[in-house]
């Protein structure tokens, strides 16, 4: 499809859905409420939304959906660190019942016992999986959960009179950037540890950074390189030795479910991403959901109301004076909590362990296939296995051909595969990060590796082909530099029309040209 922007579909007079009119009885009582609005409240003209009949709206967004590659449609192993796994369809059928979708959060508790029990059971399951004392499901995603971690840490130190003294947080470069960023927002100075020569988090650098000013260490493990820090317990103990807390970002937990637990390594707080590890769909970028686990001493600081059980009855307890308060409306991303509960129940303890083991097996299998491609490498910890993902490098290929990792990723999309490079900064040169999870079959991993091998070959034999990609996409090479210039960026249709007044004419001309080109074989 060459589907227009929705505004271009507007046909005056068309309606997509109708809303009920004011009833005569209501009008008789209240008069013309719009006319009676004070001038400062009355909207002078209708908003310039498009007018489109329902079927055309359906067609528009269905066509856009077809121009998108969901995890269900492609071999989505290229979004390393994102843990793209199967979101079971049965969970969609379960959560879409009106008895979940159409519940108000402030209904009488006796009318929501089912969902309260699910929240309670999910908290218990997460506590068991992490080994932590208590879990809150109130946060709306991984980074929000990181925020809650640091907010609790801050509250804890303040409660102990050390709020002013402890003004530093230590993280590692291969931990998710939100650990650093959220700590900064919470008022901390951020210290970032780089890997040692072997690619493991540098424990000597940690020792040097720790002091009585340290509020916490906030680390991901395994890190985004797929390397598990074997000295993680020492890290935690070192932090504790200076009175700091240890916070564990478990975004990469998929490979260690049932293998090792946060609390067993001594962590005080940790979080999971339900949309990464527990099979809730990623929703084009959310909603996700977070689970914050804490030790007994941090429990009073957990956010929001918590669900408690009294015999067979479940209820909300919001009377918790040391709580950091609300981190979000109400009780978290409820549909995802229900999906995660369903996912855990579908698999059980044995299944969770099988998930981890197969995810790790798949990852090491794919690593073998990738490292067989000339020009690809996996920096750090040479010869060691990885857990659930690998940060690879095309540096050799780049030196040989001048083709960057980004260009290879774009060209791979011509074959229906894709990857992203990794978070900035590119500590690993020409990076790409693959995480196959447990969801893809061997045949699909082979298919993926074959595509990368093919593109690597093209980089040598026909670099221009790679550099000018994409060739088989909905859209062609896009001028992204427009988007970094305030004078040129078009952040909305209205801004576009304002900045590019001749755009509509160009568009029409382009459409004609495209039709003419389509006529050519």
């Amino acid at each position: 499809w060459d589907e227009p922007i929705v505004f271009e579909l507007s046909a005056p007079g068309e309606r997509g859905v109708l809303v009920p009119a004011v009833e005569p009885g209501v009008r008789a009582e209240v008069g013309d409420v719009v006319a009676d609005l004070p001038a400062t409240l009355r909207r002078p003209e209708r908003p310039a939304l498009p007018e489109i009949a329902q079927m055309r709206v359906v067609r528009h967004f269905l066509r856009l959906s077809q121009e998108n590659l969901g995890a269900d449609l492609n071999v989505d192993v290229g979004q390393g660190t994102c843990t793209m796994k199967y979101a079971p369809k049965v969970n969609e059928r379960i959560v879409t019942t009106p008895r979940l979708a159409d519940l108000h959060p402030l209904q009488a508790e006796d009318t929501v016992q089912g969902v309260l029990e699910i929240i309670w059971q999910t908290e218990r399951a997460m506590a068991e999986i992490s080994g932590m004392h208590r879990v809150s499901l109130a946060t709306q995603g991984g980074s929000a959960a990181i925020w809650a971690n640091i907010a609790m840490i801050r509250a804890y130190h303040e409660a102990n009179g050390e709020g002013d003294q402890r003004d530093e947080v230590i993280t590692t470069i291969f931990s998710h950037p939100s650990n650093a960023a959220a700590a900064k927002v919470a008022g901390y100075k951020v210290v970032t540890i780089h890997p040692d020569a072997d690619g493991y988090p540098d424990i000597e650098a940690l020792r040097a950074a720790l002091s009585e000013r340290t509020a916490a260490i906030m680390v991901t493990n395994p890190e985004d390189t797929g390397i598990y820090n074997p000295r993680i317990r020492e890290w935690v103990e070192l932090a504790h030795s200076v009175g700091a807390l240890a916070s564990y970002d478990q975004a990469n937990a998929n490979g260690i479910l049932g293998i090792t637990r946060a609390r067993d390594a001594g962590f005080d707080v940790c979080h999971f991403n339900l949309h990464k590890t527990f099979g809730t769909p990623h929703g084009s970028g959310g909603p996700g959901a977070g689970a914050n686990g804490v030790s007994e001493k941090l429990a009073p600081f957990l956010p929001g109301p918590v669900v408690e059980r009294d015999g067979d009855r479940y209820f909300l307890d919001g009377d918790r004076p040391r709580s950091i308060g609300k981190v979000a409306p109400f009780y978290g991303v409820v549909p995802n909590i229900v999906r995660a509960y369903s996912w855990i129940r579908a698999l059980g303890a044995e299944g969770l362990r099988a998930v981890a083991e197969v995810a790790v097996l798949n990852n090491n299998y794919l690593m073998k296939r990738i490292l067989d491609i000339p020009g690809a490498s996996a920096p750090y910890a040479q010869g060691r296995r990885r857990v659930e993902q690998v940060r690879y490098s095309w540096q050799e290929l780049f030196e040989e051909t001048g083709i960057s990792s980004e260009e290879i990723g774009v060209r791979a999309s011509d074959y229906g595969m894709h990857y992203w490079t990794s978070h900035h900064p590119y500590v690993v040169p020409q990076p790409f990060t693959l995480e196959p999870t447990e969801s893809y079959s061997r045949a699909e991993l082979d298919e993926y590796a074959d595509v990368l091998a093919q593109v690597a070959k093209e980089a040598r034999t026909d670099p221009e082909l790679v550099r000018t990609a994409p060739h088989h996409q909905t859209v062609h090479h896009t001028h992204h530099d427009d988007l970094d210039d305030p004078d040129r960026w078009a952040t909305s249709w209205r801004a576009y029309l304002r900045k590019y007044p001749h755009a509509a004419q160009n568009r029409a001309a382009g459409a004609e040209r495209a039709a003419a080109e389509a006529a050519v074989r």
Binding site: I5, V19, V58, L100, H104, P281
Partner: protein, 458 residues
Amino acid sequence: MTQPFVHPYIPNSDPAVRAEMLAAVGASSVEEFYADVPPELRVQGSLDLPPALVAEQDLERHLTSLLDRNRSTRERLSFLGAGTYNHHVPAVVDEVISRSEFLTAYAGEPYEDHGRFQALFEYESLMAELLNMDVVTVPTYDGFQASGTALSMAHRITGRGRVLVASDVTPDQLSKVTDYVRTSLELVPVATVDGTADVAAVRAALDDDVAAVWVQTPSFTGALEPALPALADAAHAAGALLVVTTDPIMLGAVAAPADAGADIVCGDIQSLGVHQWFGGGHGGFLAVHDDPRLVMELPSRLFGLASTDVPGEYGFGDVAYERTSFALREEGKEWVGTAAALWGIAAAVYLSLMGPRGMAELGETVLARTAYAAARLGRLPGVAVTDTAVHFRELLLDVAGTGRTAAELRDAARARDIEPGVVVGEHRLLVCVTEVTAQDDIDRLVTTLAEILQESAA
């Protein structure tokens, strides 16, 4: 592999396949991959979890039996609001966001995920029309987060340390925002008068340490703030910003805050096509004018339209990506992560369906029904509406005159399968009506409360 566990969610769980894959990588068992996990950290035995329900039918039966213990707002008449609202969700919205292509996508690049970029660009653009502002980000988590960030932006822009809270802000929102910004900002309440801002008091409190005047409209009680222009003028005169938290659902009928001079407009999009989800269906929006001073302080992703190698073709990408923590870690603006993109797509579909007339009519219908509810409920003996402001969707009743507490009245109504509103004080009940609350429904509430009051009087 400890033992074979074959499951539909795990393709390579067949023992023979696993053995072949292990052989391919030269490992004798999965244990080798965990060489870096010290033995003392290894889980011994099995986690203590409820038994697996591996047959889909058993899983579905279990979950459904739990969920069937809930009773929804379709089954019981609900006047509950206070942040989560029962608006109609058109079927087309659910159709689109349940498409696998959108539901299961994540962070693909502009080429393979063209549809997601376009849909979210359209979300931004449709919101921009409603808000009369050129820049609206991809959704953040919820309105609370959006408000927290809006005030943080005001701090970063002005370098100042206080915020004047000019409205009756939703208490839970105040809780979140207070903790979120407290490193840099102190929130100073300025008491409202008759439900809306005390402009004179705000003006008096403004000084050169005020980063922003913060208005929530509709307020916690549903009151619409008529003095936005005056508040904007006052804030601007003092070098402060006007930050307005609002609900875009009303903007088909009610003036856009930007037109009154608001600098940052933010709030929640749950009303725009997202179910109530027991309070779990929220997304936040942040809007500013196309002014780099403001745009460069936005922490969220922002998609923009760009040209491509084909003349006339639309491409998409991130606007000013270098603002974000994805790009700069702690040197970025606050932080960004997986938030609520799917609800943004829902809102895009919703606004495309509603169009200008739909939004205008919906605004009128809700305004009228709110006024109707206020009139009818306010005539009940001992019941009074707490203020005379114009209300949208919600209103606050004072039931002290009935001789009964709000909780008592609520419990009596619940026994008749009506949720009459949210109890927000000993004698205060916050009542919510939307376009799904028909006149008959309001009449039923009035009649029911009248009966309850009569019984208690007898």
